[in-house]
C-alpha cells in the first residue's frame, strides 16, 4: 500500500511551517510521528496534496518546566514520556498512559501532540490531557494562542485548530500538592484501541482533602470526555470508599459509548464505573489515605 502522491516540505523553523500552512491551508497535513496519518494515507482515507514534516524543527523537540507548566513540545514521543524518570514524581499520568499506547515501535515514533490533533474518540492521550487540564499551544499567521483541552475536541477527528495553525506544544499545569494517577484501559489484545479508557488524576491539599481531581474518558463518545460531575464529587472532600463509589457512579453517567463488536454500551458504561472505582482505590492507597 502506498499513499497517493503529495508534495513534501521539511521546514526547519516554525515561521517556515506557518508560511507553508498559509499557502496550502486545508490542502496540507502536518506530519510529526506519522503513526496515525501515514496509515490513513496508505488506506487513502487521507489524501493531502501537501505534507509538511515538522521533524526538523528543533524548537518542537524538548519538554521543559516553565511558568508553572510542563511544556511538552510537539515532537516529544510517547516513548520519551513513558521512560523519563524525571517526570514520574509530578506527572505520573504521563508514563501511566504512554505505556498503554499501541506498541513499543509505534511509541518510538508517535507524539503526544500528534495524537491529540488526530482527535480519535479512543485517544488515550485525550483522556489523560482532560484529567490533567492541559492546554494546547498553537502557532498560526496571527501568532500563538492557547486552547484549553475542553475546547479542543469538536467532533470525531475534528478539533478547533485552524487550518493554518500548527500545534507547537501542550502545557500541563504543575501540581501544587501531592499527586497520584492511574490510566485504566480495556482492550481486546495488546496494543489495541481502547474499548474503554479512564484517566484519573488526584491532587491533595496539605490537610489530606482533595484539592483537584481530573477524570477523562476515551472511547465513550464522539470525542474524549470529561466526567465533570464525577470530579465535583471528589473536589474539596475526602477520598474514601463512600466518595469513590459515588464518583464511579457519576463517571458512568458521563459516558455515552456506542454498542459495537467490542461490547454493548451497557457493558462499557459499567466498565467505566469499575475502572474509576478500582483506579481511585489504588490512588487512595498510594497516597496513604
Amino acid at each position: 500500500m502506498f499513499p497517493a502522491t503529495f508534495e513534501y516540505f521539511s521546514p526547519t523553523t516554525v515561521d517556515e511551517a506557518v508560511e507553508l500552512l498559509k499557502k496550502y491551508s486545508f490542502e496540507a497535513k502536518i506530519l510529526s510521528g506519522g503513526q496515525s496519518l501515514l496509515p490513513m494515507m496508505k488506506l487513502r482515507i487521507a489524501m493531502p496534496s501537501v505534507v509538511i514534516d515538522i521533524n526538523k524543527i528543533e524548537a518542537f523537540r524538548e519538554w521543559k518546566e516553565e511558568n508553572g507548566y510542563l511544556r511538552i513540545g510537539s515532537l516529544v514521543r510517547h516513548a520519551d514520556l513513558e521512560r523519563d524518570t524525571r517526570l514520574q514524581q509530578q506527572y505520573p499520568l504521563l508514563s501511566e498512559t504512554a505505556a498503554w499506547i499501541a506498541d513499543p515501535p509505534v511509541r518510538n515514533m508517535g507524539t503526544l501532540c500528534g495524537s491529540l490533533v488526530h482527535a480519535d474518540p479512543g485517544s488515550d492521550w485525550g483522556a489523560a490531557m482532560l484529567a490533567l487540564r492541559a492546554e494546547l499551544e498553537a502557532v498560526g499567521p496571527e501568532g500563538t494562542r492557547r486552547i484549553p483541552i475542553d475546547h479542543f475536541f469538536v467532533d470525531t477527528f475534528t478539533t478547533s485548530l485552524d487550518t493554518e495553525e500548527v500545534v507547537s506544544a501542550v502545557n500541563i499545569p504543575a501540581p501544587t500538592g501531592k499527586v497520584a494517577s492511574r490510566y485504566k484501559k480495556l482492550e481486546r489484545k495488546a496494543g489495541d484501541f481502547a474499548i474503554v479508557g479512564v484517566a484519573l488524576h488526584v491532587m491533595l491539599s496539605d490537610d489530606g482533602t482533595v484539592k483537584d481531581a481530573g477524570i477523562g474518558l476515551c472511547a465513550c463518545g464522539d470525542i474524549p470526555l470529561r466526567a465533570e460531575s464525577a470530579e465535583q464529587v471528589l473536589i474539596g472532600g475526602k477520598l474514601d470508599p463512600a466518595s469513590i463509589e459515588a464518583t464511579a457512579r457519576q463517571a458512568m453517567d458521563a459516558a455515552d459509548p456506542a454498542s459495537d463488536l467490542r461490547g454493548s454500551a451497557e457493558y462499557k458504561k459499567d466498565m467505566v464505573r469499575v475502572f474509576v472505582e478500582r483506579g481511585l482505590c489504588e490512588i487512595a492507597e498510594e497516597l496513604g489515605l
Binding site: 502506498f2 503529495f6 513534501y8 514534516d53 513499543p104 515501535p105
Partner: protein, 168 residues
C-alpha cells in the same frame, strides 16, 4: 527528492518519491531484503528497523523522513561472517520456524538488550508486544533473547578482564 541515509554504517544517496515508504526504499532501492513487509498496516512488526537506534515500523515511516538519519537493519547484525549472539541464540533455542517475523524480532530484541542486558520474561514480552509471531509462539523467542543477553554480558566481562590482564 534526494536523500542521504546511513544504513548499517554505509551512506547511500538516493532519489526517491516522497511517498516511498522506508521499508520499500530498503528492499527495492537498496536491495536490502532482510527487512520484511508483513501486514503493511503498522501491526505485525516484521518491518521493524532501528532509526537512530530505536525500533520503528518501517512500513509507517517515509523514506524522506530518514534523510540524514542512521538506520540499522537485520543485515547489520552479522560482523565479519560471524552471526550476532542474538542470531545464534534464535538458532540454538529454536526461536523461529518460518522466519518471517524474525528480522523484526531481532531488531526489537537488539535494542532491548542494549537498554537492559538481562531482561525478565515480563520485560521481553512487553518489548516484543509490537512484533507478532504466528508459528513458533513466543516461548522460544523469549529463551533466545535471554540467552543472547547472558552471552553479551559474558562477552563484555571477558573483554574487560582481557583489558585488565593486559594492563591497557
Amino acid at each position: 527528492m534526494k536523500i542521504s541515509v546511513s544504513v548499517n554504517g554505509e551512506t547511500y544517496e538516493s532519489e526517491v518519491e516522497p511517498r516511498t515508504l522506508l521499508v520499500y526504499y530498503l528492499r527495492e532501492h537498496l536491495k536490502l531484503t532482510g527487512t520484511h513487509v508483513g501486514c503493511d498496516t503498522t501491526s505485525c512488526g516484521a518491518c521493524t528497523v532501528l532509526l537512530n537506534g530505536k525500533p520503528v515500523k518501517s512500513c509507517t515511516v517515509l523514506a524522506v523522513q530518514a534523510d540524514g538519519q542512521e538506520l540499522m537493519t537485520v543485515e547489520g547484525l552479522e560482523r565479519d561472517g560471524e552471526l550476532h549472539p542474538l542470531q545464534k541464540a534464535f538458532w540454538d533455542k529454536h526461536g523461529l520456524q518460518c522466519g518471517y517475523c524474525t528480522p523484526g524480532m531481532l531488531m526489537t530484541a537488539y535494542e532491548l538488550l542494549e537498554r537492559n542486558p538481562l531482561p525478565s520474561e515480563e520485560e521481553i514480552r512487553r518489548a516484543i508486544s509490537g512484533n507478532l509471531c504466528r508459528c513458533t509462539g513466543y516461548v522460544n523467542i523469549i529463551k533466545a533473547v535471554q540467552t543472547a543477553g547472558a552471552e553479551l554480558v559474558k562477552k563484555e566481562n571477558e573483554g574487560l578482564s582481557e583489558v585488565a590482564s593486559s594492563g591497557n
